[in-house]
């Protein structure tokens, strides 16, 4: 196996599998991207998980529990894909806890009201789906296959979120106002989930040449706006963007410029929430240590008995 063989596989839009030779840059890029994706899934359990005990009905509680459990599973699928590249899962978690690897900054926004759970499902999971569907065709086989499983589960996440928004927007004036506040909070962060503008995204070209990325940040962002604006109209809610207008000539919505300075601050991890998220994550890991130690001791004892 060699660079030529790798190039030929990529050229033919074939998949790269774990045992194949691959350039170090390709491997490192994937480990970083898949690990960051996995970290985002498990950290993403927190802002919504905070609402499980306060969900307004038993039905909503069951739905939210199932969704948050799915996100844990997404993390596990992705850690599995990342470690097929030779980096053990425990090491990836250590890097998350030490903050040397990032997770999506969308999970560093607070969720002060119940409507935020609806807005997250609708917009944040919606944007995630827009990002993830093309990743099902990623050139690295295990990542693509993990994404297929994830995408099958994501549709429920977005639909349940939209349904929360629908109930609130059609409810009392107070509920409608709460839904609008959640849209106001989550609209721009969701738009920024697609990453910086193409002109400021130096690695996009290389990732596209490798078949890791299939669309640019700006293409995906436009798709998201086009899909989401009519959904907001149906809710009777207004995205907080005065520049938002249908452009018949382009066949797309025009929209305003996100606050990229805020984006940069969020990516740098400013504010109190990043420490909170990592603190909760570390505590869960550390508090579970005795359980893992006990399970390992039990397994050793059973193995020793059956060997005797």
């Amino acid at each position: 196996m060699s660079q030529e063989h790798f190039d030929a596989l990529i050229e033919a839009d074939e998949r790269i599998e774990p045992d194949d030779w691959m350039p170090d840059d390709y491997r490192n890029t994937l480990v970083r991207q898949i690990a960051q994706h996995a970290h985002s899934e498990i950290i993403g359990m927190q802002p919504e998980g905070e609402w499980i005990t306060r969900a307004p009905s038993l039905r909503r509680k069951a739905i939210l529990t199932a969704k948050v459990q799915d996100e844990a599973g997404h993390g596990l699928y992705l850690y599995g894909a990342a470690e097929s590249l030779g980096t053990p899962r425990a090491e990836l978690l250590d890097r998350l806890h030490a903050k040397t690897q990032k997770y999506s900054s969308i999970f560093n926004y607070p969720t002060p009201e119940w409507a935020d759970v609806g807005a997250i499902g609708w917009l944040v999971d919606g944007a995630a789906i827009m990002n993830q569907v093309p990743l099902c065709r990623c050139s690295y086989g295990p990542y693509g296959r993990a994404m297929v499983r994830i995408c099958k589960e994501e549709s429920f996440h977005q639909r349940q979120g939209y349904q929360i928004m629908l109930s609130l927007s059609q409810g009392t004036p107070e509920q409608h106002a709460m839904a609008q506040r959640a849209l106001d909070r989550w609209w721009w962060p969701s738009i920024m989930m697609f990453g910086p503008p193409d002109a400021d995204s130096p690695n996009t070209g290389r990732s596209m040449a490798w078949g890791i990325k299939r669309f640019t940040n700006d293409e995906l962002r436009q798709n998201f706006v086009d899909a989401t604006v009519p959904q907001a109209e149906l809710l009777g809610l207004t995205p907080p963007d005065d520049a938002l207008v249908w452009n018949a000539e382009r066949g797309h919505y025009d929209f305003g410029e996100p606050d990229w300075d805020e984006f940069a601050r969020m990516v740098r991890g400013e504010g109190e929430i990043p420490d909170l998220r990592i603190g909760v994550r570390r505590a869960a890991h550390d508090d579970g240590d005795w359980v893992r130690a006990a399970a390992a001791a039990y397994a050793d004892k059973q193995a020793a008995r059956s060997a005797a």
Binding site: M1, E17, D19, D20, W21, A66, Q69, D70, G73, L76, Y77, G80, E83, P88, R89, A90, D94, R145, A146, R149, E153, H285, D289, R292, A293, A295, A296, Y298, A299, Q302, A303
Partner: protein
Amino acid sequence: MSTVFPQWEVFVRARRGLDHQHAGSVHAPDGETALRAARDLFTRRQEGVSLWVVPSTEIVASDPADVDALFGPAADKAYRFPTNYDLPPDVDHM
């Protein structure tokens, strides 16, 4: 300190009558716990009726470098395929 569990490959039979198919992997201290983890991770929506877990280290795999030696020789043996045989139209459904 952190306890690291071994890795297990998970195979799911989606329905009776189908083969078990590779679904992914889990980490667990023993087979029984791996089965429970696999059940929680891969079959929350009736994706399966049976699970296998196998220690990942027990899988013996062919070497990608041997692809040509192993699978190349099958490429020039068209006579192993039914379409290789032109028959008169009256019996061509054979």
